[in-house]
């Protein structure tokens, strides 16, 4: 049984449940408490849990993320919001040198069970500095885990898995998905956890595999509908959900089923998630391919501001349909 929740409310429910489960879970970030969250993901949690468990930080990303990393080494389980993942750059030393490497450099003596979460997307008319999509960037660092939910159910399940994980997990959300609604399992069904490293087929198909994560999954589903009704092409849509760990088996299985692949990725083409996935496919499923692997990424430029054209820079159903038709 299930009910309908927004992506935002599903995330909030996951955070609320984990605050209830483990007294060492704390939420911190800019405007997460008294302001109820810049995007209202944490709305009501400060009022419910109080200032010890949910608190506002100054605009000081390197400071408060480093603080959370230090606290996690002692047993606190900080969940830290970046108002935009784009602000990672001012905290990069903490996110990479400290969170990713402290376990290794200590020979396994330390660990760092933190979650850093927030939106990582373009498409909102805020220009290049606020539109970075860094999942491939962070997935490139051994020691880090990265996921990017596309649906409300996955958002709840992945945030809960991330909080319970004993390694640093960076959860990349999307401001354009926060208001989307979807089915989320009922509370009576027990803890709803989506394990890291497990992809999900969001639409079955036989002709072409569309492999994506985050909002690109939603764009793929729209494209798949157009391709079926207007062109008679049946696309399978595989939602990676988790970038690292990565569900390689699911990727190879869909490729072996359809023999044609279009990777859809809001990252830029150079070194994006799709670059890695494409490499794995050619390495492990070369003989299953009937056509070259194709990609739809964000157009390779800093994010443009203009609302008139920004959506064309990002993967969208029109671009995906056009790319699939090149394989036909």
């Amino acid at each position: 049984m299930s009910r309908t929740l927004t992506y935002r409310a599903a995330l909030r429910e996951g955070l609320d449940e984990e605050l209830a489960r483990d007294p060492n879970v704390v939420l911190m970030g800019e405007e997460v408490a008294q302001y109820n969250g810049a995007y209202k993901v944490t709305e009501g949690l400060w009022k419910k849990w109080g200032s010890k468990r949910v608190f506002d930080t100054p605009i000081s990303e390197a400071g408060f993320i480093g603080m959370g990393i230090g606290a996690s080494m002692l047993g606190v389980r900080p969940v830290m919001e970046l108002m935009f993942w784009s602000f990672h750059s001012v905290a990069f030393d903490q996110l990479v040198n400290n969170a990713a490497c402290v376990r290794y450099m200590s020979g396994g003596l330390c660990h760092c069970p933190i979650v850093v979460r927030g939106p990582a997307n373009g498409g909102t008319g805020v220009g290049a500095t606020h539109s970075h999509i860094p999942e491939a960037l962070f997935a490139a660092f051994p020691g880090l885990k990265v996921c990017a939910p596309a649906t409300p159910a996955d958002a709840k399940g992945l945030i809960k898995a991330a909080i319970r994980d004993n390694d640093p997990v960076y959860v990349m959300e999307n401001t354009l998905l926060y208001g989307n609604s979807g089915e989320v399992p009922d509370l009576e069904a027990g803890d709803h956890i989506v394990p890291l490293g497990m992809a999900d087929i969001k639409r079955q198909g036989t002709d072409v595999s569309l492999i994506a994560h985050g909002r690109s999954v939603i764009q793929c589903l729209a494209a798949a509908e157009i391709l079926q009704t207007e062109h008679g092409i049946h696309c399978e849509v595989l939602d990676l959900r988790s970038i690292r760990p990565l569900d390689q088996d699911a990727i190879l299985n869909t490729v072996r089923k359809t023999h044609r692949v279009v990777l859809v990725d809001e990252s830029k083409p150079f070194g994006g998630v799709s670059a890695m996935v494409g490499m794995l496919i050619q390495e492990h499923a070369f003989d299953a391919l009937d056509a070259p692997i194709k990609r739809v990424c964000s157009i390779d430029a800093p994010a443009i501001y203009s609302p008139h054209i920004e959506h064309e820079q990002l993967p969208n159903p029109k671009r995906i349909v056009a790319k699939v038709l090149t394989l036909a």
Binding site: P58, G63, G66, M67, M105, G108, P142
Partner: protein, 358 residues
């Protein structure tokens, strides 16, 4: 050579130092000597090609780590930058595991994965050993935040060099410590040089570096790092403020390093005069000063002090032998200690691909 007047105050008479037994006073001396002998051995074998990377020696600064860490209660914690050997020995890490780490051996404290700059011993409340200048300051803040959050009475001593005070993260950490009332003591070990650039050429300041704390409403103090008794007396106050009042402090401990920023610092003798170094050795060396004091007080003789040096040198020689003979890491070792879940073979570690080798 100019003689320097003795300290105006005798901190040996402060309560925290009067509480020391004779053997504890000799213990402070012994630990400082052990650090120096360890570092001298490290230098010798670094130059002999037994180690890779950098070697940042603590020689000259021993009273800082020994004095401050001698005040540790059961839930006081420590974190420092890359010049970390003194702190490591002061918290009770063994010479063997530390030397083996620098030799890149499996028996090293970080299994040969961290090196000279990255010693850790969480079981002794020592959290590194961090390579990026000031990168450890928010971690120290976070350890202290954790103590307060978990309702444990203790504090975190977070060490940094004078070269770290101009990094943004340090100022962010100061602000957060004052704002959230975090039981942290930031300790600037001011050896006068950020690598090869003197304090005067690197920092804009009024009076002293620690005075910057006033901008954040934080208590501060300046300490003569050549006098282990002064280090203890003043640091004790800061630690009590943290433990009992959850108030941070910024301490500046004036000290000196005999050697360069690292052993690879080819200009170490160019940006400082020979007279400056010689003056420090004669008049400010913390080991020399404490030795004189303990002999004057009748706790040591020249012979017993020399015996402590000899024993420390022998201990360091044993550590070198241990490190030299220890096994090297295997290829398989490269791929462990990355994810907690993978190291513990948990169900989560079995889902999805975590590593991407072939």
């Amino acid at each position: 050579m100019s003689s320097v007047p003795p300290p105006a105050l005798d901190f040996a008479t402060s309560a925290i130092n009067q509480s020391l037994s004779n053997s504890q006073k000799i213990g402070l001396f012994t630990l400082m000597v052990r650090i120096r002998r360890f570092e001298q051995a490290a230098l010798k074998y670094y130059n002999a090609g037994k180690m890779g990377g950098f070697l940042h020696l603590y020689i000259g600064q021993e009273a800082v780590a020994v004095g401050t860490i001698s005040l540790a209660g059961p839930d006081d914690h420590f974190i420092t930058a890359y010049r970390d050997h003194g702190h490591a020995l002061a918290v009770g890490m063994g010479m063997n595991e530390c030397m083996a780490e620098m030799f890149g051996k499996q028996s090293g404290c970080s299994k040969g994965k961290g090196g000279s700059m990255h010693f850790f011993a969480p079981d002794k409340n020592f959290w590194g050993g961090h390579g990026i200048v000031a990168g450890q300051t928010p971690l120290g803040l976070g350890l202290a935040f954790g103590l307060k959050y978990l309702e444990r009475e203790g504090c975190c001593l977070c060490y940094l060099g004078d070269g770290a005070v101009n990094q943004g993260t340090f100022h962010e950490s100061l602000n957060l410590s004052g704002l959230f009332e975090i039981p942290v003591v930031f300790v600037i070990e001011n050896n006068g040089y950020s690598m090869g650039t003197s304090q005067e050429r690197s920092s804009a300041y009024s009076g002293c570096l620690a005075q910057r704390a006033e901008a954040y409403g934080i208590e501060w103090d300046v300490i003569d790092g050549s006098d282990v008794y002064e280090v203890r007396a003043k640091t004790h106050i800061a630690m009590e403020r943290a433990r009992k009042q959850h108030k941070p402090t910024l301490l500046e401990i004036d000290t000196y390093r005999y050697y360069g920023h690292s052993v690879a610092d080819a200009n170490a003798k160019k940006y400082r005069t020979p007279e400056e170094i010689e003056n420090y050795k004669q008049n400010h060396d913390p080991i020399t000063l404490l030795r004189r004091r303990l002999i004057t007080d009748g706790l040591l003789t020249d012979a017993s002090a020399d015996a402590i040096h000899l024993a420390a040198a022998e201990e360091a020689a044993v550590a070198v032998k241990f490190a030299d003979e220890a096994p090297i890491p295997t290829l398989a070792d490269i791929s462990t200690d990355i994810y907690w879940e993978s190291d513990h073979q948990t169900p989560a570690s079995k889902i999805g691909r975590h590593f991407f080798n072939d």
